[in-house]
């Protein structure tokens, strides 16, 4: 069984990704994480076969008593970096709603970021742009997951 980890702090977006995965890949086991840290923990402890990562997230899972800690504009990249450091080369797809990342001092555009990810991380399998009111991301994500599944098999 393929274990897919979805790391996403926007519950609405995560819910839609889960629905899509459930619909097209019913046999997958889905693991969900809601922050940079819980995503990293899931990568290290749950041994997923495939990871879908948001790029910008808070440090901790939010709750009524936890404000989430500081924001990480490049949380997805950092998780990829930690995977590389720990030799966990799990195929990873980035799905983001942003076209630019970072603050004024360290602003990076999406094409610049994807180019960097391609160069640095062999397990990076591309970025999908997500928009709440446009459905194009769904077919794109499905195709990418299928491609990775073929790799895994």
């Amino acid at each position: 069984m393929v274990r897919i980890l979805i790391v996403e702090d926007d519950e609405d977006k995560r819910g839609k990704i889960v629905v899509l995965v459930t619909k097209h890949f019913a046999e997958f086991e889905i693991i969900e994480a809601r922050s940079f840290q819980s995503g990293l923990r899931a990568v290290e402890e749950d041994n997923p076969d495939l990871v879908i990562l948001d790029m910008t997230m808070r440090n901790f899972d939010k709750s009524p008593t936890e404000d989430g800690g500081r924001p990480h504009p490049f949380a997805g990249r950092e998780i990829l970096r930690q995977m590389k450091r720990e030799r966990k080369m799990i195929p990873t797809i980035i799905i983001t709603q942003f076209e630019e990342f970072g603050d004024d001092q360290n602003k990076v555009t999406l094409p610049q970021l994807t180019s960097e990810l391609e160069q640095r991380f062999p397990n990076y399998r591309g970025t999908i742009e997500y928009r709440h009111h446009i459905d194009a991301w769904q077919s794109e994500l499905k195709v990418r997951i299928e491609s990775i599944v073929r790799e895994l098999i």
Partner: protein, 1138 residues
């Protein structure tokens, strides 16, 4: 005519430029066309229009050089005066500076150089205020154009709080496609790589400048392009060709040196014999002689920086000057430079600060004769990360030096072979010349150094430098290691340290490089400015990512190096630090720093203290998977601080101990306030049960007794029949017993009436009931601010000045999206205003319709308390066994709590499903509407803000939902009055994302309040602070709030004073204040207890009168003069204060 010259210029052959420019520049009809304003007399007389197109670099160079050649006499007249002024500023001879400036203005008119010189003079003599006034005056006169643009930047450079790094960062944001960018960077004293193409563009912009400025800019451009294109023989031939006439005509060491640097043959200035003596004495290690000679040299050649540096080094070598002695010796720039150098040479505690000061002096006075000498001594830290750029910058600065001397040989080496330069400046070889020749001229055998009569450590160091220059790093390494480990003096060791680290780095020996670097950094953080930390850290990161063993993974020294790098060089690059933190813990088989406690003695004491103090900080530890929340991170920091207080030496470093204790205190306070707020949030659903019980006790008792009697009569009917039989048996005859009972319907009505009475009190009582508390604890401000906060944080919504007014313009996005057309801006504002309205409409709907007790007036209200017949019957059955009315009341209250619990579950579900979806839909709609505002690329930032707000909004609604739980039986501990206030201020700060609240508290620490009062006191502070944010008139920026809490006899007094914005109508505020004072606690005001979007004072009255049950007086006031609003509450302290 201008256009004609433009065409002519564009088509002019390179070989014809010299003759043409010479002719045009002297021709009465054309000279004002090719140089409209060479010596302007008014600040508005600068030329605005240059030539139309830029030509190839060699053409622009030839044109500019011959245009300047035509002014050679004026330039030759100007340069000595400029040198006099620069020297006067350096030595603090301000009257002379003023005289020279006036003379220059008189003869050469106005220029950017003159404006800058006046600024530096004013800074020295009259301070920043006068400097700003001067800037204001002349920029008001200048027409928009290049001169004003450059001067605005120069004025910014002279500002008190502008750092070198900040200045360069800001310039770097300009568009690099245009020559103006390069011109500005060079004029501001920075070095930038300059291609021939950009140099051509840059030169073309100088044609509008006055002669003085054009010459200065011309030289900088030429020097930058020379340095940036070292191997380009064709380019250097062009430079040689164009500089030749200038080098021959203009008496400037710099133009001659540049000509020489591009291969030209010319006599450049020989080394001054007197300076040579200074250098040789120092190089030989004869420091007392060097000191004496340098003092003479400084007197004779006051603008020469080399002797100042040598003097400090000589003094340090003989231990002649302690830092303290020099501390006050900064009455002139020259003395200040000496003092700063002294501190850096000794690697003193303030060395980093003094180094920054030197850098600032170097850049601020970048156009002075002596600036390059200063800048060469303190290269920017960025050069350490890019050694090639560093070498080129040094070369560029060396070209600008006002002295020629052997020490420049190494700096100029990339451009001028050391041998060629040393031959040109030295009539005969001195010791220093020989040393530099061996170090930097590769044709000389390194072993020749052994014959030089110089100190052993210097010989060894220069031998290592010579080997490195020749690419023999492996041979240099043992020499440097030997100096570092066996140096006779600690200064020798420290001086050799950076060279050793660089050499180890080249050798890819990262572990040892990190060890040496960490050791140096612990000696003085100044080493962060002079060690190649960027290179070292990035090499470690790459090695570790690639699984290279050289990554020194798990070393304590790597953590120290990474931390120093993050703290001093690249604050945004902290991943190496958190990696090093995790690796070190993992290498020692622990998950948390506090688990190291039993093993602290295993590590070098100084290093482990540093690690715990600076690396084990929340922003690093929060990367650890062992700490899953902010609270866990904070708790671990407390544990680390407790370890540090044990570990750090008490007796030697009291300040450090105090710093640990202060940090502990801050964390504890934060934890208490956070805990308090958590408890407050858990106690929002509140009913004053004691109040209800007291209120209904008498009436329910009567009704309950009647009800019980009826029940008794109905239940005992068989007994009455039995009594009748007994009486008849006893001969009393036929007895008719009439039961004195009420009908069953009457009994039911009575029961229903009692239930309704308690329910109404439980739900609707303004004093005790749920709805009034929902209003005060949740609906009043809390829901609104909680949900608006994440949207305000991203500037997606604005406020309305009043409920019937339109939303304010969204200035943030108007300015951030300044690339929108006016029509697009209009659409954007409409979309954002519609979004603000939609969000507020939804919040109003929540507050006004949903989060309410269900009634005819609020049919959507989710708090349902109607009791139907089956429910009543059920309650009645449960009451049957009860005797006492108190038990009956208790049972009913329990019943209504159970109903409340059910209602709360519905509310929570509604919030996290329906309401969340509603707000998400509003964000989706805004996102979609942006498609109609402008093209996607133009609104990228706004879309990012929408995306960022989504999880925050989800969390905010989650937090609101979490309030709808039954209050736990919280036993509030007694608390300081300060905690109550801080709880209120923290809540309001987290909500008021658009303003910053600057709060000052004056509170006697001994005032401790009873625990049970905490939710009420916290809410009173919140309501007052919420009013301040709402009504201060300050929509963005800082609101000042001052609070005093004191005891006045038996009374506890709170007074909160807040700022009112300048645009607030004071008469109106005063009127409202009078209304509050007149109506406070009256029937009229209490009608608004359960009403939101009205004054919060009825709620304060309700809390004080009914929840806390204290007598009190509240008074609000307006101070017209100070524009302040104040609220003072004086309350009986007995029930509140411990």
């Amino acid at each position: 005519m201008f256009s004609g010259i433009d065409d002519y210029r564009e088509n002019l052959d390179l070989r014809a430029i010299a003759t043409s420019v010479a002719t045009l520049a002297t021709h009465p009809a054309y000279k004002s066309v090719i140089w409209p304003s060479p010596f302007p007399r008014d600040w508005d007389a600068f030329s605005e229009r240059g030539f139309r197109a830029y030509l190839a670099f060699e053409n622009e160079l030839e044109w500019a050089s011959h245009a300047l050649l035509a002014q050679a006499d004026m330039i030759n007249a100007f340069l000595p005066l400029k040198a006099q002024f620069d020297t006067a500023i350096l030595t603090g001879d301000f009257p002379a500076a003023k005289t020279v400036l006036d003379a220059i203005e008189e003869r050469f008119g106005l220029s950017v150089w003159l404006a800058e010189a006046r600024l530096s003079y004013l800074q020295m003599t009259a301070g920043f205020k006068a400097q700003r006034e001067f800037t204001r005056q002349i920029t008001a006169k200048m027409k928009p154009g290049l001169v004003r643009f450059i001067f605005a930047w120069i004025a910014f450079k002279y500002e008190e709080n502008t750092s070198y790094a900040q200045l360069i960062r800001m310039i770097a944001r300009l568009d690099k496609d245009y020559g103006v960018y390069y011109l500005l960077r060079l004029c501001m004293g920075d070095f930038t790589l300059l291609s021939a193409e950009k140099a051509g563009q840059t030169l073309s912009h100088t044609d509008t400048l006055p002669v003085i400025d054009r010459y200065i800019a011309f030289m900088k451009i030429v020097q930058a392009v020379q340095t940036s294109n070292i191997g380009d023989a064709v380019l250097h031939a062009s430079i040689r060709h164009s500089l030749l006439p200038l080098a021959n005509r203009i008496n400037d060491i710099k133009v001659k040196r540049s000509f020489f640097a591009s291969g030209g043959s010319i006599n450049i200035e020989p080394l001054r014999p007197s300076f040579r003596l200074c250098l040789d004495a120092y190089t030989r290690g004869d420091y007392p002689v060097a000191q004496a000679l340098c003092l003479q040299e400084i007197d004779t050649f006051p603008a020469s920086i080399g002797p100042i540096d040598l003097l400090q080094r000589s003094r340090n070598a003989i231990g002649g000057l302690l830092l303290d002695e020099a501390a006050d010796d900064s009455s002139s720039l020259k003395q200040e430079i000496g003092h700063c150098l002294n501190e850096t040479i000794q690697f003193g505690a303030k060395a980093a600060e003094k180094r920054q000061r030197l850098q600032k002096i170097g850049v601020v006075y970048a156009n002075s004769e002596w600036s390059a000498g200063v800048q060469l001594l303190v290269p920017p830290e960025a050069d350490l990360g890019n050694p090639l750029l560093g070498r080129l910058r040094a070369c560029y600065l060396a070209l600008q030096s006002n002295d020629d001397h052997p020490l420049l040989a190494g700096k100029l080496a990339p451009l001028i072979p050391a041998d060629r330069y040393l031959n040109a400046i030295s009539l005969e070889d001195s010791t220093t010349t020989q040393l530099m020749r061996i170090a930097f001229a590769s044709t000389y055998p390194v072993d020749n150094i052994e014959s030089l009569q110089i100190p052993v450590s210097r010989r060894a160091r220069y031998k290592a430098i010579a080997l490195i220059e020749r690419g023999a790093n492996a041979e240099a390494l043992p020499i440097l290691r030997s100096i570092y480990e066996g140096a006779a003096t600690s200064l020798d060791r420290l001086e050799s340290g950076p060279l050793l680290v660089a050499s180890l780095l080249r050798d890819n020996n990262l572990g040892t490089a990190a060890d040496v670097a960490a050791s140096l950094l612990l000696t003085s953080p100044y080493f962060a400015s002079i060690l190649p930390l960027s290179q070292l850290v990035s090499a470690i990161v790459v090695a570790q990512e690639n699984g290279d063993e050289n990554g020194a993974r798990g070393n304590l020294s790597v953590a120290i190096v990474a931390d120093m790098y993050a703290r001093y060089i690249a604050p945004d690059q902290e991943t190496a630090r958190s990696d090093a933190y995790k690796d070190f813990l993992r290498a020692n088989r622990v998950r948390l720093p506090s688990e190291l406690a039993p093993r602290l003695a295993d590590f070098p004491r100084e290093e482990i203290i540093y690690f715990l103090r600076y690396v084990c900080v929340p922003e690093v530890m929060d990367q650890s998977l062992a700490l899953p929340s902010t609270i866990a991170v904070e708790d671990e920091r407390v544990a680390v601080l407790l370890m540090l207080t044990e570990l750090a030496p008490h007796e030697h470093d009291r300040d450090t101990q105090l710093a640990f204790l202060e940090e502990l205190r801050e964390i504890r306070t934060r934890q208490v306030v956070r805990d308090t707020n958590k408890r407050l949030e858990q106690s929002k659903i509140f009913v004053n049960v004691d109040g209800i019980k007291k209120r209904v006790d008498a009436s329910i008792k009567d009704n309950w007794d009647r009800y019980r009697l009826i029940s008794f009569q109905n239940d005992e009917s068989d007994l009455i029949a039995e009594v009748r039989k007994i009486l008849e048996k006893n001969g009393r005859g036929k007895i008719i017993a009439l039961p004195l009972s009420m009908p069953e319907t009457e009994r039911g009505k009575l029961f229903q009436q009692m239930v309704a009475e308690i329910r109404d009190l439980f739900v609707d009582s303004k004093e005790f009931g749920l709805d009034a508390n929902l209003s005060a604890n949740i609906r009043h401000g809390y829901v609104l601010r909680e949900i608006r906060s994440p949207l305000l944080m991203q500037n997606l919504i604005t406020n309305r000045p009043d409920l019937d007014k339109p939303y304010e313009e969204n200035k943030f996005w108007a300015s951030r999206l300044s690339n929108l057309t006016p029509i697009e801006q209009d659409r954007l504002q409409k979309a954002l205003a519609a979004f603000s309205a939609e969000v507020d409409r939804k919040i109003d709907h929540l507050n006004g319709k949903v989060l309410r007790v269900n009634s005819v007036a609020a049919p959507e209200g989710m708090f349902q308390y109607s009791v139907n017949a089956p429910q009543l019957s059920f309650i009645q059955q449960r009451c049957e066994p009860l005797d006492k009315h108190e038990d009956f009341i208790q049972l009913l209250i329990e019943h209504f709590w159970a109903v409340t619990d059910y209602n709360l579950e519905r509310v929570r579900k509604y919030l996290v499903e329906t309401a969340l979806q509603d707000f998400s839909d509003a964000l989706d709609a805004l996102d979609k509407n942006l498609d109609d505002v402008a093209s996607s690329i133009k609104v990228t930032n706004l879309r990012s803000a929408i995306t960022l707000s989504r999880p925050e909004l989800q969390a905010a609604i989650g937090r609101v939902a979490s309030w709808f739980t039954l209050s736990k039986e919280v036993d509030f501990p007694d608390y300081s009055a300060e905690t109550g206030y801080q709880a209120g201020i923290e809540t309001i700060k987290s909500y008021a994302a658009n303003v910053s609240i600057s709060s000052k508290l004056d509170c006697d620490e001994s005032i401790v309040l009873r625990g049970r009062t905490l939710p009420f006191i916290g809410r009173i502070f919140f309501i007052i602070l919420d009013n301040i944010v709402e009504h201060s008139g300050i929509a963005s920026g800082k609101i000042g709030v001052r609070c005093s809490i004191r005891l006045d006899g038996e009374f506890l007094v709170f007074k909160i004073v807040s700022d009112l914005d300048a645009k607030v109508d004071l008469a109106n505020v005063r009127r409202r204040a009078n209304d509050v004072n007149a109506q406070y606690g009256t029937e009229k005001a209490t009608q608004f207890i359960s009403v939101e979007r009205r004054s919060g004072y009825p709620k304060i009255w309700k809390i004080l009168t009914h929840d806390l049950q204290v007598e009190h007086v509240l008074e609000v006031a307006v101070d017209d003069k100070a524009r302040e609003f104040s609220v003072e509450i004086k309350m009986a302290g007995a029930k509140i204060v411990l």
